[in-house]
């Protein structure tokens, strides 16, 4: 009994630790006093200012675009790569996996800087450089999500299909694809999460006037207190909440989990 309540208290404290800062941001976003952390009355002023701030709104759409596009392209490249790697012999596979781990283990700052050095030498920095950089650090997450599913997928069924005269593409689509789909989806989701959350790599590879939310918040924070940022936090939190609820509790996933 004591153990049980100790566990409950521990859980509660951790959740408090995780969500208290967010709660503070949400409360302050409705606070009508800029300078101090004192309640100065209820207001939606910061939301109005946020929506009229074109720079932040632009950064918002850039962030959505970059994270969706990079996750998507990384998923395609990564899934293909996983299929290829899966077909390799042990040695090739080890080398490929080792190389795949580099951007994963490398410090963000080193990844960002090394890419900057490359881009500066050969091209101009712009939106495309950010996208390329994001795809690069996203691919490993996809590969590492898809490979285990490929290993689990039943080889014999696929080969049986081929023996029965199915084309490789058809056999893949009918047999392998449904089995690796959950891995592909979670790879996509993970890639998107990483891309949404990235600061360092974007910071070093972005061009003039291009900002993701991370970089614009960084510059705004270096300028002092910006209550619009609290409003932004609240909105992002709500979006994340809705999206994640949607992703996690779709009927499709539930069905998959039951098997």
């Amino acid at each position: 009994m004591i153990k049980k309540s100790a566990e409950r208290i521990y859980l509660f404290l951790i959740f408090l630790f995780l969500y208290l800062p967010i709660l503070v941001l949400i409360v302050l976003s409705f606070n009508d006093s800029k300078a101090k952390v004192v309640w100065g009355g209820f207001t939606v002023r910061w939301y109005k200012e946020l929506f009229s701030n074109t720079a932040i709104m632009e950064a918002f759409s850039t962030t959505i675009f970059v994270s969706l596009a990079s996750a998507l392209l990384a998923t395609i490249l990564g899934t293909l790569a996983a299929l290829g790697i899966d077909a390799m012999k042990k040695r090739g596979r080890t080398i490929m996996l080792g190389a795949t781990n580099i951007p994963l283990l490398n410090a963000d700052i080193v990844t960002g800087i090394s890419m900057m050095l490359l881009f500066v030498r050969f091209t101009r920095l712009g939106l495309s450089t950010v996208l390329i950089a994001h795809i690069t650090f996203n691919i490993p997450y996809v590969i590492l999500n898809v490979l285990p599913k490929l290993k689990q997928s039943s080889r014999t069924t696929y080969e049986a299909a081929l023996d029965l005269g199915a084309t490789p593409l058809y056999a893949f689509y009918k047999i392998t694809w449904p089995q690796i789909l959950p891995g592909v989806l979670s790879g996509f989701l993970m890639a998107m999460t990483m891309s949404l959350d990235d600061f360092s790599v974007t910071y070093f590879t972005k061009g003039a006037g291009i900002n993701t939310l991370s970089t614009i918040i960084y510059t705004e924070m270096r300028k002092g207190i910006r209550p619009e940022m609290y409003a932004l936090s609240t909105i992002l939190f709500l979006i994340a909440l809705i999206l994640l609820l949607f992703i996690n509790f779709r009927p499709a996933v539930r069905r998959e989990r039951q098997d």
Binding site: K36, L127, S128, I210
Partner: protein, 350 residues
Amino acid sequence: MKKTLLLLLTTLAVFSLFQGCGKEDPNTLTILNYGKYIEPEVLDKFEAETGIKVEYEEYITPENMYTKYKAGAIDYDLICTSDYMIEKLIGENEVLELNFDQIPLVKNLDSSYFEFSKSFDPENKYTIPYFFGTVGILYNREIVDESKVNSWQILWDDTYSGKIIMADSVRDSFMVAEKLLGYSLNTTEDDKLRAAQQLLIEQKPLVYSYLVDEAQDEMIAENAAMAVVYSGEAGLALEYNDNLAFSVPKEGSNMWIDSWFMPKSARHTENAEKFLNFLCREDIAALNFDYVYYATPNMKVKESLDEELQENTTIFPPQEILNNCEVLKSLDDEAAMRYNLYWKEIKSAD
């Protein structure tokens, strides 16, 4: 169905990727400026009036600007920065001459600031002054002994331990120590630099934080007792919190002037000149002044202000203070490297 959707999204993404890096829109203007140094509405108005798309980028310290420019990865058309950095870039042959025929409204600016600019732009060929001011101490009258703020020494007073904000910029922080020691703020003599460094290391335990643009808000929020800030920052802070005041210490300080110039990388020089002319326009300069709140060289704007504001010595430093101030000169590479290294040593000191 899922596959079609995926395919559609992919095509879309690939398409926009190539569109992004493919063609170059000629009607743009890429600007690099200090943080918080322009009224965002000015940019919107400029875009609306001229149809030129502004790509606006910010930096924090002049050294930061220098790197961003020198990296060469972005072709800036117009940059605003401080005197000594412009001098350095002119010396490196990185600045383009302005065509003043395209900037007729420059007549709105007080010519005495062009005289002043000659210290870094001897023939007034390259730059247009934007704002100017000094560096001083912004302090909270409720906490700080006002009889002592006329000296930089107060920044070493341990009664204010943990309540002092220093400038997070190499030259500005060294300036404070150098002035307190009675040196020139352009000194490159090693023993003097070391002495200044020693002083700054001694000060570190008392420092709440090293900040640039955030110092103002920290002071308004009363998270600290005093801060080394630019005069304009102080002017704005005074509007928000009545307890605050500003002083330029008697040992002297730095007078700076921030100006616009076109770097060699400029590819839209006509747009840049259009923008400069736009900035000099009275209504725009006034709008901008209200936001930035630094001393403006635009006399039309200054004349239109009410008397009280014109005589505000925080924003418009009086002559006797300016006489006691020095202008930063650019350092050679070797001296700059030493300043940087010594600064890093201060930052990593315990």
